[in-house]
Subunit: 398 residues, 2 copies
C-alpha cells in the first residue's frame, strides 16, 4: 500500500470529467476512427497575438531580476495594475492590497480556503457544480454543503436560507457557470446577498461570498454590451477568484488572482494570511514571468466570435432536434436535458457514435449532460449526427 487510503478511495470515485477524458484517450488509440470529444474545457484557440508581443517586448528589454522571489502575494506593480483595471470595471476603490496573484483560480481558492476556514466550518455551493469544489473544501478541514438551484439553474433565497448555519464561512458561486453556462441574474444575486447579510448579522461575523469566475469576460447576447450583474455590487463581503486561463487561452500557465471587495474589513490581516498560506501550501507565488506580462494584457482577450458562432450552431441544432437547453449566457458550455432522462444511458449511447460529453451526474445533477464547445468546428460538426441519432433512440414522446 503506497498511497493514503482516503486518496485511493477518492481515485476510485474520481471525477466523471476525468473518467470521460480517459475514455477519450482509449478511444483515440483503438483504431476505429475519429473521436468527437466535447468533454474537456481545454480551449483549442491560441492566445491573442498581444500575448506573444508582450513576451517579445519583455525579452527585448533585457531587464535583470525578473525571475527572483517576490513578495508571496505578487509583484506590487502587477497587483496595482489589476487593481486599476478592477476600479474601472467594477467602480469600487480597489488598491493593490486587494489583489492576490495566484497559481490559477484553483490555486487562489485553495489559498483562500486555507486562510479562512476553521476546523469543520462549512462551504456552501450550488448544484450542478464543478466537482473539485468538494476537495478544495475538505483539503483545508472544511465541510462542503450543497444547495440545489432551480430549473433555470438560478438561486432561490429559501433553499439557501435553509442551508446557512453558524458554521457557514463561505458561500461559493460560479458565474458565468460551469457546467450550465448560465449567468446569475440580479435576482439570484439579490437573493444570496439578502440571506448572507441576515446570517452575518445573526451570527456576528461576515459570511464571505466567493465568486469563482474564470469566465467573467466570456459572455454573450445582452451581456456583450451591458455588463452582467456582478456579485461585488450586491454584497459587501464578496471575493473574486479568477484566472487568465480562458480569456487569454493559457490554462497551462497557472496564472490568476483573488480580489477582495474594498468593503471587506481587515484587508491587511487577510493579505498577510494569503501570503503565508501561499507559502506553506507550496505555491509560494504565481509564476513570475506571467506576472510580468499581465499588466499590458488586461484589456486583451481571445476573439469571442470564435465561441459565439459555435454556441449558436450547437444551440440551434440541438433545439431543432428536440433537446431542451437553458440558454447559456457565458463560458463555453451547454447543459441540455438528456433525452429519456437517464444521463448515463445517454452518455453510453453517444459514446457508441464516438462522441464524448460529460454526464450531469458528474456535476451533482443527473438527467443532464455537459457539452464543452471550445473545440474546432470539425469536432463539433462531426458530433451533430450522433446527437440527432441519440435523441431519436432515447427520447420518450410526452
Amino acid at each position: 500500500m503506497s498511497i493514503a487510503h482516503h486518496i485511493r478511495n477518492a481515485l476510485q470515485h474520481a471525477s466523471m470529467i476525468r473518467r470521460v477524458a480517459d475514455e477519450g484517450i482509449k478511444m483515440r488509440q483503438d483504431g476505429q476512427g475519429s473521436v468527437f470529444d466535447l468533454s474537456l474545457g481545454n480551449p483549442l484557440i491560441e492566445p491573442p497575438p498581444a500575448f506573444y508581443e508582450s513576451m517579445k517586448q519583455l525579452l527585448a528589454r533585457g531587464k535583470t531580476g525578473l525571475h527572483r522571489y517576490m513578495p508571496n502575494n505578487g509583484y506590487p506593480e502587477t497587483r496595482a495594475a489589476i487593481a486599476a483595471w478592477l476600479r474601472t470595471d467594477l467602480d469600487l476603490p480597489f488598491t493593490g492590497q486587494h489583489v492576490f496573484l495566484s497559481v490559477g483560480a484553483a490555486g487562489g481558492i485553495n489559498t483562500l480556503f486555507k486562510a479562512l476556514l476553521g476546523p469543520s466550518e462549512e462551504v456552501i455551493f450550488f448544484a450542478p457544480y464543478f466537482v473539485e469544489y468538494g476537495f478544495y473544501t475538505s483539503n483545508h478541514g472544511g465541510l462542503p454543503v450543497i444547495v440545489e438551484t432551480n430549473d433555470e439553474f438560478q438561486i432561490d433565497a429559501e433553499s439557501l436560507r435553509k442551508a446557512v448555519t453558524e458554521k457557514t464561512r463561505i458561500v461559493m458561486i460560479n458565474t458565468p457557470n460551469n457546467p450550465t453556462g448560465v449567468v446569475y441574474t440580479a435576482e439570484s444575486l439579490r437573493n444570496i446577498s439578502e440571506v448572507l447579510r441576515d446570517a452575518s448579522t445573526r451570527y456576528g461575523r461576515p459570511i464571505y461570498l466567493l465568486n469563482d469566475t474564470p469566465y467573467r469576460r466570456m459572455v454573450y447576447d445582452e451581456y456583450v454590451d451591458a455588463q452582467a450583474p456582478d456579485p461585488m455590487h450586491f454584497y459587501e463581503h464578496t471575493i473574486i477568484a479568477t484566472s487568465f486561463s480562458k480569456d487569454l487561452a493559457i490554462p497551462g500557465e497557472r496564472i490568476g488572482y483573488v480580489a477582495f471587495s474594498p468593503q471587506i474589513e481587515d484587508i491587511q490581516e487577510i493579505d498577510e494570511a494569503m501570503a503565508f498560506c501561499a507559502r506553506i501550501l507550496g505555491f509560494v507565488n504565481a509564476p513570475a514571468w506571467m506576472q510580468h506580462l499581465l499588466p499590458s494584457l488586461l484589456d486583451t482577450q481571445v476573439d469571442m466570435s470564435w465561441y459565439a458562432k459555435k454556441r449558436q450552431r450547437l444551440l440551434s441544432f440541438l433545439r431543432l432536434t428536440g433537446y431542451t437547453c437553458t440558454t447559456p449566457k457565458g463560458a463555453f458550455y451547454i447543459y441540455p436535458k438528456a433525452p429519456g432522462g437517464d444521463d448515463m444511458a445517454f452518455y453510453q449511447e453517444l459514446k457508441r457514435h464516438r462522441v464524448l460529453v460529460v454526464p450531469g451526474s458528474g456535476f451533482g445533477r443527473a438527467g443532464y449532460f455537459r457539452i464543452a464547445y471550445c473545440m474546432n468546428d470539425e469536432t463539433i460538426d462531426g458530433a451533430l449526427p450522433a446527437f440527432a441519432k441519440a435523441y431519436e433512440t432515447l427520447h420518450k414522446p410526452e
Copy 2:
C-alpha cells in the same frame, strides 16, 4: 475576525526568516544608510544565457498549443527528458512515469504529502531544518517529528531509530542542507537506510525517504568532480523533490519535479495519485512555458564560481575572526556558532551594525546563525566589519 484562528496563531509565530525579511524592509526605508542583508536565500545571480536562448528559440518556432492543459503530471516529453537525465546522473532505470513536474519543490512536496499521508501519520525531519517542513506536514493531516543531528549536522542511526514508529510514513532529509550547507556523508545515508529498511520490514510497509534537494547540483570541494553521495544509491524507497530555482536562478517561476526511485513499487498508482492531488490542491500542473524550456536546459546551471568565491571569502574571514564554522559543502549558506552562544543576542548586535542574518532558533537549533551568501560582493564585503565587531563584543574567551 476574518481569518481562521489557527492561521492567526501561526502568523503570530511566523517564520523567523520572514520576520528578519520584514526587519530588512523596514531598515531599508529608515534613511539611516545601507543594509547588509544576508538573510534571504533569493539568488541575485541572473539565469544562464541559455535560459533566454531557449525561450527565444521556442518563440521563434511559433508552435501552437503551447499553453493548454496537459496531463496533470506534466508534458510526456518533459518527463521523458528529465528521466533520461536522471538515468545518466544516477545510473538507475528512470522512465517518464517516475518524474512528476511540480510547482517548485515546495509544490511537489505538498502534492506528495497529500498523496501519501494518512491521518496523523508521522513525517520525521532533522534539526536544524527549514521551518516550513512542519506546515507542509500538518497541511495534509500529518504530524511532524523532529530528530537532532550531531555536532557536524550529520545523522546518527541511534537518534533516528528512537523516533521511528509504526506511524512513520516519510523521513525527510535535505542534502545539500539549508541552513547548514552540509552534504550528508555516505555514513549518514547508510545510517538512515539501515534504520528505515529495518523499520519497513518490521511494520510491513515501506517508509519513504524524501530528499528535498534543490541544491543538488550546487556543491564544492571534493564534490565538484566526484558526485556527492546520493540517497537513491543507499535506499530503495527514495524520492527526490527538487527545483530549478537555485541552479537556474529562477525561483519566482515555480518549476521543479518529484522523482521516484525506479525501485519503488506501485509507481502506476503513485503516479495517478500525484496527478489527482496536484489537481485538487489547485496546482493543476507545473507552468507550461517553463516545462517547454526545460528539456534543453538540463545540463545548464549558473556559474558556480560566482558562489564558490563568496563562500571562500566569508569562511576565511569568519574563521580568522574566531568563528566556529562547519565547512559547508553545498548550497549557499554558512551556519556558524553564535559568539557567546545566544543567537538572538548576536542577531540583535549584528542588526545594530545594519547586518541581517537569521538566528538559528528559526531553524530549530539555537546557538547558531545562518548566512545566505547568494548576494553581491558589496553586500558581503559591507557586512564583514560588523561580523568582526559583533564577535569582539559577544564572544566569551574559553
